[in-house]
Symmetry: C2
């Protein structure tokens, strides 16, 4: 089959790789129809993560089950399925508690395993990992595109909201106008936040934030943004969603959190090891979050997608074929695209 | 009157200072009968905090109201009262929400104001700050000693437990066997934790932790302690109380937190700006806490002290007169005393 392969910073190629096959009785093989490029794929693409040439890439995907091992009875050949960005056994303490991201057998797509940006994928622990789409969606391209976003970005935005303690009637500030931040706005709106302040740097993305439910849009330098949010909220937001992962965005998040409030963070930390512990201490500002337990969130989010009340698909503003996946990386790296859909 | 005055690292003297008097109609003046030396007083004493010669010190105290301003109607002359380590107006948003430590008018005892280690103290915003002891305790030395500990250390230990999400039947690890950590053990026991693992370095203090309800005692190097707690809990404690404030104790706390768990921290941060954000991210370990909103906790803790079900007083293992307060600092600095009571 063909799949995207990392060869170095700025160098993603589509190449022939071995076809996946059932290796364990708990495996499934899925033919991928839709995939996406994630902001976190840009970390290795830009050379910030220590990746090796030859590694596979991509972790947002959905498709059709092609084969299952003898121990898999939750899905069968021909089912439409999606999966979180990590696999999990579904049975350990953490899976049972809804923290599948810390599954004792958890692992991620890509690197030395099949990646999501390819024609097919071997899925370990398929019963714990795969979620069938409970509807005949064969030709429903719009629905499949929405579903694809539940594999990571929408669930991650939701996790930021949950971690930040967003609740009905509350005030929340969302730091970052990338796809995760925008999905975070949508998640906060879905959870009933009354005031949603989107903090970003791009007019077009902030316009989408508004469409997703943001009540206030804030941009400018970090200092200006902090001052604006402080002014809008008279002392900060009780919930702040940090959706970037940089030290600067984390600093902004702490600076706009209300005393007693919570910063929910989901951005993969890059340079944010040094937190504003004095602000946390002085004003009891909590820091919660991390990698999203996507598997726990997919069912409830899927219900809303099927009901037509949740649609994160506007974050996908460009489509490429698998052959052109490299162009998709360029488009996201240069911010010509917000998020790229890859059609096989 | 006489009061303790800071003159430099290792140099605390008792000197004549101006008598406090009512300056605002919202003030009270309290004659102090009991005070204590806090672990956090040792920061300036050891030269770690930028303090100026001539500043006053001490923030744990109780006594008898000597005078009140015309606007104070919650306490009157002759009442026994105690106060948190900070004063607060009792009316702002944060006071109403039980986060009096972030009161918009909050301030601390000592430095350029009267300190707690002295014969009397001017109390701003007395109606918001002072808590009367609802009983004639004139000669009940044992009860007064217990009450004194509600002004900071017991309430701070309680805040660590609350911040760490300690709940009935849960497992908690307490990092630090100082007075705060020991009161944290007591707080966790009071909240119904089933398993309480005390992590410390001193056999006598760990013995007191056991008396306070610790079910397991862990000591040794940090690496050994981490391994022991991991072993005892098969993967870490859901709640971890960080009761020191050093980088090393914070690192231990993150290393023994269970995936999805919470580190509740109350130690004044000294070098702990660099947190283990990767552990937090990878396993959704939250960090909550900070300076304790003591004013919010005093009433419920006082009820238990009055009922005889809460007694933190064993952490006070040495008593000095005000004249000898300097000897009290030496005893705590050299760990000959766990916590020192100062009797006027």
């Amino acid at each position: 089959m063909r799949a995207a392969v990392f060869h170095g910073a700025g160098d993603i190629r589509v190449e022939q790789v071995p076809d996946p096959r059932i290796e364990e009785p708990t495996d499934a093989v899925v033919r991928i129809t839709h995939a996406a490029i994630c902001g976190s794929d840009l970390w290795p693409y830009r050379g910030f993560n220590p990746w090796q040439a030859g590694w596979r890439i991509g972790h947002e995907w959905l498709g059709v089950v092609e084969d299952v091992g003898t121990a898999v009875d939750t899905v069968r050949r021909g089912d439409w399925v999606l999966a979180p960005f990590s696999f999990s056994d579904g049975t350990c303490e953490f899976c049972r508690r809804g923290l599948q991201s810390s599954c004792v057998q958890a692992g991620f797509w890509g690197t030395t395993r099949d990646g999501g940006q390819g024609e097919a994928i071997r899925v370990p622990m398929a019963a714990g990992t795969l979620v069938p789409i409970p509807k005949d969606v064969d030709r429903d391209e719009a629905l499949l595109t929405k579903m694809l976003l539940l594999t990571d970005v929408m669930a991650t935005g939701h996790h930021a909201a949950v971690s930040a303690g967003v609740r009905a009637g509350g005030t929340v500030a969302v730091v970052g106008d990338g796809a995760v931040g925008l999905c975070g706005v949508l998640a906060a709106q879905r959870l009933g936040a009354e005031r949603i302040i989107a903090v970003g740097h791009h007019a077009d993305r902030l316009a989408l934030a508004q469409r997703f439910g943001a009540t206030d849009l804030v941009s400018g330098t970090d200092a200006e943004a902090i001052a604006q949010v402080q002014d809008l909220t008279s002392g900060g937001a009780a919930s702040v969603m940090e959706c970037v992962g940089h030290k600067t965005s984390m600093d902004v998040a702490f600076a706009i959190a209300r005393a007693g409030g919570t910063v929910g963070f989901v951005g993969q930390p890059h340079g944010s090891e040094v937190v504003n512990i004095r602000r946390m201490y002085r004003d009891n500002v909590a820091l919660r979050g991390g990698i999203a337990p996507v598997r726990a969130y997919i069912p409830e989010l899927m219900i809303d997608v099927l009901a037509g009340t949740l649609d994160p698909s506007p974050v996908l503003d460009q489509t490429v074929s698998l052959s052109d996946v490299s162009a998709g990386y360029v488009a996201m790296d240069t911010r010509q695209a917000l998020k790229v859909l890859v059609r096989m």
